[in-house]
Subunit: 199 residues, 2 copies
C-alpha cells in the first residue's frame, strides 16, 4: 500500500553501504518527515557531485579539476609515489605529516571474490604513472588485509618487472586492520619503517 | 584538500539518521566510486519523492493523492480510528490482519526534550478527524516508550474531553519496545486486549 515514489526511494537508498530494507525504510521516512529541506539539499549535492567530480589524471583521486591540487603543487616530492586503496587513506597518510611525496589511488583492491582483477583496477595506468622518469620509488600502502596484501604483491611483481624500486609500509598497521581506523602515530612508524620488497 | 562538491555531499549525507562524519565519508566514496548509476537513480528518486509525496488529508500518512488508497477504500470500517506514530507502524498493524478500521498517523510523538509538543504534532487535526460523527472509538497504538505513553495520555485527555471513546492497545508490546520490531502475533493480541482508558 506504499506510494510507488516512496517504494522507489526506499529501494534506491539500499545502494548505500550497509543499508538493508529496514534501515532504508527508516531513512526514507526520516527524510520525508523531519528533514525535507536537508533532503532536498542532499539530492542537489549528490547530483552536483556526480556531475562535477572526476578522477585526477595523475593520482586518480576525486577532483573537480584535471589535476587535483596536490598533484598540481610544486611543494611535493615527485620522486616518491605512494599507492593507496582509497581517498580516505590519502587523508590518513597526510595526517601523519610524515610524507611529502605524491599519491596514486587505486580506488579499490584486487579481489577475485568480488570479480575485481588487475584489469578492473586499471593497473596499467599506475604502471604508466610510475614510469614517468621522475619517480624513483613506489611505496605500497595498501591495507594489511588479505585483499590489500594480494594487491601489494601483485603490484610489487608488476613494478619490479619494469625495473621500478618498490617498498611496502611496515607492518605497524595491525594485521587485519584498515588504514582508515589506525592512529597517526602507528601509521607514521609504518611509513618510516617501510622495507624493500623482495621475493 | 577535498573538492568542495565532495565536502558538500559528505556533509549533506549526515542528515540521514545515525550517520556520523565517518559513515558519511564512506557513503560518499562508495556512491562516487562503485555506485554511480545507483547514485544518480537515488538523487532522482529522492527529488521525485519530495515533489509528489504529501500527507493524506484524512490519515496524514504519505500519499501521492489527496486521499491515500486505504482512506479512499469503502471496505474499511470508518467507525474505528487507530492512532499510530509512523507509517511503518501502520504496516505493522496491517500485517496482524486483526484490524479493519482506519488510521491516523501522528508522524512523531510528544517529546518535550526534542521540542515536540501538541502544537508541533498538529493534534487539533486528529481531534477534528475523530469528531467527524462516524468514528465511535479511537484506539491509541502509540509505542510503549516514554514518549509514546506520554502521547497516549495527552491524546486520551484531549479526546475524552470532547466525549470521544478512547482505548489503548494492551501492553502486550514489551515495555520500552517499538511497534516496528514486534512480531505480528504479539501485536494482534495487544490489539484484541485493548482496554478502556480511565483516570
Amino acid at each position: 500500500m506504499k506510494p510507488s515514489s516512496l517504494e522507489a526511494l526506499i529501494e534506491a537508498l539500499r545502494c548505500l553501504p550497509g543499508v538493508g530494507p529496514k534501515s532504508a525504510q527508516r531513512m526514507a521516512y526520516h527524510l520525508l518527515q523531519q528533514q525535507r529541506p536537508a533532503a532536498e539539499h542532499l539530492a542537489m549535492c549528490l547530483t552536483r557531485a556526480l556531475q562535477v567530480l572526476r578522477h585526477c589524471a595523475r593520482c586518480n583521486t576525486f577532483s573537480e579539476t584535471e589535476l587535483c591540487p596536490r598533484c598540481a603543487s610544486s611543494r611535493r616530492d615527485p620522486a616518491l609515489l605512494c599507492v593507496i586503496e582509497t581517498p580516505v587513506d590519502m587523508n590518513m597518510m597526510e595526517q601523519t605529516h610524515a610524507y611529502n611525496g605524491l599519491y596514486y589511488v587505486l580506488m579499490g583492491h584486487v579481489s577475485p571474490l568480488e570479480g575485481i582483477g588487475p584489469r578492473e583496477l586499471q593497473l596499467e595506468r599506475l604502471l604508466e604513472r610510475a614510469m614517468d622518469g621522475v619517480v624513483t620509488e613506489v611505496i605500497l600502502a595498501t591495507n594489511y588485509t588479505n585483499e590489500g596484501e594480494a594487491t601489494a604483491h601483485y603490484l610489487s611483481e608488476m613494478l619490479k618487472n619494469h625495473g621500478i624500486r618498490v617498498s611496502r609500509i611496515a607492518r605497524g598497521v595491525p594485521a587485519g586492520g584498515e588504514l582508515e581506523y589506525v592512529d597517526s602515530g602507528t601509521l607514521a612508524q609504518a611509513l618510516r619503517e617501510r622495507r624493500a620488497m623482495t621475493g
